[in-house]
């Protein structure tokens, strides 16, 4: 058998434009993209914090920014991404110690992660909407802990 005939008999790799990714592959690439996004937000958050230490007026600007209706929802997307990434990380840890390494268990654990992330995000939304920003609760707790 020549090289050419061997090559022609090899199966083609599934091409992304014609091949629909299965559930576990979609979750895998989604987890990776969420990870890249969260790494970017971590970088922005740290730059923000270092800047804030030297520019006190940045805090008020940030609070005005996060008071915009659309930004509020983006913050919830951010929270969902964090919950999803944590859940996915636990999934990867369980795979690393040999638990649930098959297609059905992968689909089940993926669905559990998605459901718990959604519930946690809704819970967070409930807390932030029902307990509005203007309440002085945070001020007193901080002062108490700072005085210890």
């Amino acid at each position: 058998m020549t090289d050419i005939t061997i090559k022609s008999k090899r199966p083609l790799s599934p091409h992304l434009q014609t091949y629909r990714l299965p559930y576990n592959a979609l979750m895998s690439i989604a987890g990776r993209m969420v990870g890249i996004g969260l790494a970017a937000t971590m970088v922005v958050t740290c730059i923000w914090f270092v800047t804030l230490v030297f520019n006190p007026e940045l805090l008020a600007k940030t609070q005005i920014f996060f008071a915009f209706p659309l930004v509020k929802y983006l913050a919830l997307v951010w929270a969902f991404a964090i919950f999803f990434y944590i859940g996915n990380g636990i999934r990867h840890f369980l795979w690393a110690i040999g638990l649930g390494v098959n297609e059905k268990a992968g689909i089940l654990s993926g669905n559990i992660v998605l459901a718990l992330s959604a519930i946690a995000t809704l819970g967070l939304w409930n807390v932030t909407v029902n307990h509005s920003v203007s309440s002085p609760v945070s001020t007193t707790t901080v002062e108490e802990s700072a005085n210890e």
Binding site: L38, A60, I86, G89, H92
Partner: protein, 130 residues
């Protein structure tokens, strides 16, 4: 190959695994677990500090418990993302020179930013007088 005095085995030796893959994977999974309480604590703190004044916010930063947890958060999260992004770049950047430059550059950037964040936290803590 025929011009060299080296045997084929000697040439192949050292080209295989560098035996650091397991350490990478273990460190990635451990930082996954250490990130969980630290990230949840930061999220909780940010939510309770919504609408706080600058002094309140900095009093939270200067709290000794906060200082330790913020520093651990920065180390754990940046270590995790450095390992995470290293794998991403190694998977998708095929040019070896570009890959090395990107991975080393990313790690140096994370090191500088993480160190800056830790020093900013310490600056607030040490100048607060608590």
């Amino acid at each position: 190959m025929s011009n060299s005095i080296q045997t084929p085995l000697a040439k192949a030796k050292g080209l295989g695994s560098s035996h650091h893959g397991t350490h990478h994977m273990i460190a990635h999974n451990i930082t996954t677990l250490t990130n969980i309480p630290l990230v949840l604590w930061v999220m909780y703190s940010v939510i309770t500090l919504r609408g706080a004044s600058y002094d309140d916010f900095m009093a939270w930063v200067a709290n000794p418990i906060s200082v330790v947890l913020i520093i651990l958060f920065v180390i754990s999260v940046f270590k995790h993302f450095a390992l995470e992004l290293q794998v991403v770049f190694e998977d998708y950047v095929s040019c070896k020179v570009a890959r090395i430059i990107i991975v080393v550059g990313m790690k140096l950037f994370f090191f500088v930013l993480g160190l800056s964040t830790i020093l900013a936290t310490l600056k607030v803590a040490l100048s607060s007088g608590i």
